[in-house]
Symmetry: D5
Subunit: 94 residues, 10 copies
């Protein structure tokens, strides 16, 4: 099942630069793992915001929650999950 | 440039069934054209709503507006367009 | 997977009483089928509103959409779907 | 009377890990008591959020308030209570 | 248990005056019954709106729903129910 | 004139317990004075929140503001004031 | 006591022009009466909208409701009333 | 003074096509007059909506209201006006 | 041109009392200057809030911004500016 | 492609004045560069707020994001990007 995930990152501007760099490096590495596994199929930046839209393909909301909670920046994220149903016009429909 | 498009269809329940069927048939045909041309790359249903999330790849907002306004159901649609910037972790980044 | 579904029914007050009665009778019958099949496990009224909260257990959002769209009052419903993940403290967790 | 309860937990990310662990351990224990007593009949996670939906069966809003205020994380919770009326189609209606 | 009820009446301005008068007369009579029975203990107008705040004392949300649905103008009402818990400082606390 | 007053208390969870206890004790004492004077005629808790609904009977909004600003927790309160007009069906109408 | 009143007029565009003209003529006449009596002390247009901000000086919300309900366009108005308390810096404070 | 104006056009889909065409033709002609006079300096479409952002340079809100109310589609417009102050970094600052 | 200005003051409750007193004293003095100059013609308190409604008469939004930014509490204010157009029924219309 | 950009600056009032001055000086210098390059074509202040409306002309949302993220105050900005399509009545249409 696919989910559209809206993520906003609220790391305070005054965060220690070394911590921030470490968090973002680990976030990038974790995203690469999720991409490699096929769970995270697309990701885009929201222009002008520390935010993104992501497209996940997972078994269900429980697996999705586990993956999102595994993100190093999870504690600073505000996440909204939109469940998706297949559409007859979708060219990638299973 | 890619755009995430949120579409809600507000055709009144009391619409003449023949008109409704004709509109939806033409909508499906137009969606197939947009898919074939590569402008409409993904589309999902919002469960429980007469609504969808679509992913468009077009030159800019002017081309996007032209494509959306060409949809047979356009007059009954409430559309919100989210511009997308590329994200370094996206596996399909150009 | 379970979904919490918020449904508001917007049948206009001036609807023909016979049509209304027929729609509600068929809605009740369809709800009974969904209950019998185990898809609809709980349903509550929102006090003071023509609205309800429902709890569905289905394979995914696509199956859920199909069930909701099969409801006789679907065309007059405003539906919001909340995906649910399992919680370790839930007494009915699978 | 049943209540649907929407709980969002706003413990700051910079909370001392030992305090956090202690709070969550005590929260889990208290939830188990509420489950055992029958007051808390179902609980689900909101995917991607430190939030849950809970289903309570209590005498009235005063008893409910007392139970919610007894939760160890109560001071960091943002809670919305939805009162529920019975629905004729509910399979578990008393 | 007490409930604070916010009611907004959306009878269209073009409603037939005789129907409107009849509906309001029956609404007033029903409100008098609810007042006499003790279920409706206070009611105030929202200045400038066809709306009111009401205070109900009933067994639970199911009884409340039944009373609200019995109001002659119910089909044109938009109702929000706020459950109330007792407060230690309330002079009328039971 | 009566006013319905919605009060939410935002004292941070990390407030010194002695200060908190002192503030709440003085708040309770001040509420008792307002009750005794007849200005505060009813007060209810919002279940699950550090919030209440209050009913005030005062000369006008200026007197009301003075009373609310005299509350020991006023600096941490988020207050919304709803002016009330008399309703012909109110059993306590003057 | 003074009230700031926000009024939005929702007369449908397809209203019969003669009815519209009559309603607006009577609205202007009633506004002139309220101005002459001192109840309506200021009124401004919201630019670009069929809406206005008005300043009323009346005994209380009950008198205000009576005056607003006496406006010929009342049935098509969406009104929000903001109660005002005196401010020590106001040059027109009584 | 400049104003940023957000306009949404709500002409119903079922409007007579001849009336619609006439309204839009007259709207275009009036926009051309406002452009020629220098009052309307920029206008953009909101992609996917029957809506636009406009930039006006007028004496004040009263002149602006007069110009907006002169638009043939005014009765079907939902308009929000944003007043603008000059910014020291603006290359076109007077 | 007149503007209706909605101001909410968010000085944290834990602000040093001497700083608070100094800020409010200077705020009062500046308000008196704006009143004396005729720029600030009316000001009211929002009951129960650290907020006010003000009425300004200035040349344009640029002058208004300068005056508001000159207020000693400006850095803690959340301000919404409503531009006003003259209304034919206003008794103080120029 | 043009974008309308709404920027709100949330630098805390208690920020060290030297840091604030440095940030604003660098912000002004960067804005001048963006203006000189033609990317930032107009900018206005929102009266009464630490906020602005900006008009950008860039290749796409990815370039826009890069420019916005290069602003020295970016970490404290809350930014909303509105994509713009050309309008046939725009006098500056390409």
């Amino acid at each position: 099942m696919e989910f559209l995930v809206e993520i906003s990152i609220n790391l305070p501007p005054e965060t220690d630069p070394a911590l921030r760099e470490d968090l973002y490096a680990r976030e990038g590495a974790r995203a690469a793992e999720l991409t490699a596994s096929g769970a995270l199929s697309r990701i885009w930046r929201v222009p002008g915001r520390r935010a993104n839209w992501s497209l996940y393909r997972v078994a269900d909301a429980t697996e999705l929650h586990g993956l999102l909670a595994s993100l190093p920046l999870y504690a600073w994220m505000d996440i909204t999950v939109h469940p998706l149903a297949t559409h007859p016009a979708d060219p990638y429909r299973d």
